[in-house]
């Protein structure tokens, strides 16, 4: 198994700084959902990771911890993060994107 970035939606939606989306070396990997966290009263959305694109460099973790000082991103084992975003389940909309969460490990339900 290997490590991928996992963003805590609640911490992220509380600040919505979008820094990690700008610092990821992989394209279309850290995406942004303007509606994330709405059910908990947050207005400006949160970032999420399409884990099939993540190479596990942890650059976003450094940016979140040291530049933004939000500590919202952690590196986690892919088989232990539960349902998460995958490129094939991402839908783009008008200035936003959303993902239907699914199990990232093939063969597991």
């Amino acid at each position: 198994m290997y490590l991928v970035a996992n963003i805590d939606t609640e911490i992220c939606a509380a600040t919505s700084c979008k820094l990690c989306t700008q610092y990821c070396p992989e394209a279309n990997t850290i995406l942004y959902d303007n509606a994330a966290g709405e059910d908990k009263g947050f207005k400006y959305g949160a970032a999420y990771v399409a884990v099939d694109r993540c190479k596990g460099c942890a650059q976003c973790v450094w940016v979140c911890d040291n530049m933004a000082k939000h500590n919202a991103i952690k590196m986690e084992m892919i088989d232990q993060i539960g349902d998460t975003a995958l490129t094939e389940n991402v839908t783009y909309g008008e200035k936003t994107s959303t993902a239907i969460l699914a199990n990232p490990v093939r063969g597991q339900m």
């Binding site: 070396p25 992989e26 394209a27 190479k55 460099c57 994107s97």
Partner: protein
Amino acid sequence: MSLDYVKFTPGFGKFMPKEYRDMVEHGPFGKKTSVSQVGTFKEILEEHPMCAGCAMTLFIRLAIIAFPNPEDTITVGTAGCGRLAISQAAIPFVYGNYGDQNGVASGLTRGLRLRFGDKPKDVVVMAGDGGMADIGFAQTLHSWFRKEKFTTIMLDNEVYGNTGGQESGMTNKNQVLKMAPLGKKFEKMDMLGMAKVAGCAYVATVVPNNPRRVESVIKKAVLVAREIGPSYIQAYTSCNIEYAIPTDKVMEDAKTVETDRYKFSEYITDEAKEYLSQLYGYKEYLPKPAAAVEKK
């Protein structure tokens, strides 16, 4: 070249991969997108085989987002790491033989101007320090002296990263590398100075730890190259493999190097300032009112 070249032939859309459909329907073509909106639109750059945490990839990604008209842009590259990512973008990429990239871009720019006249078609050369300062040095300098109107971007990782760590002209003096065990014997080449002497209208250094600045610098360089003359950007894009930087510390290194020896610098000719302020509304280049000048 137009917006149509990315669209599907009618009836074939449903057979296309999801990434392609997303790019046509939600990509930045024909729209104004910026680095601050990243993550909410489909980027032109796709999956690529560059190393995890590579700062060069981050810079290429930001540069491609920053192109003012991606649908009217052609990138030119050469051997080196950079081309592995640049060629994975949905804009035409021309592969110049090693060192030929600025020569190829010269011909391409002239050809596009003959074919399309005044309609802006941007040519952007993105190559490494080896391709530009060592092997393609003559062609790079000559294209600047001839005032060829295209943008040259050096992805300066200060080493031949793709071939095992040989020193390049842009490596710092005394730097020990895997294939330079005694350390480099001479100073880092002053390509910025040479660009100014050779007559580039816009010259800048940038480090990718400031994405908004990368965006602004690339936009200005491409716009200046449309009408005024050659533009040159030198970007520090560390090689975390050859310089043994842990991937999560790449941005920390970029920050240290930026404060230490790669400070942001910008050189722009008066003609380019006037052009940017009048045609594209860059307020910082507007001539200062006479009253304000007198007070000083």
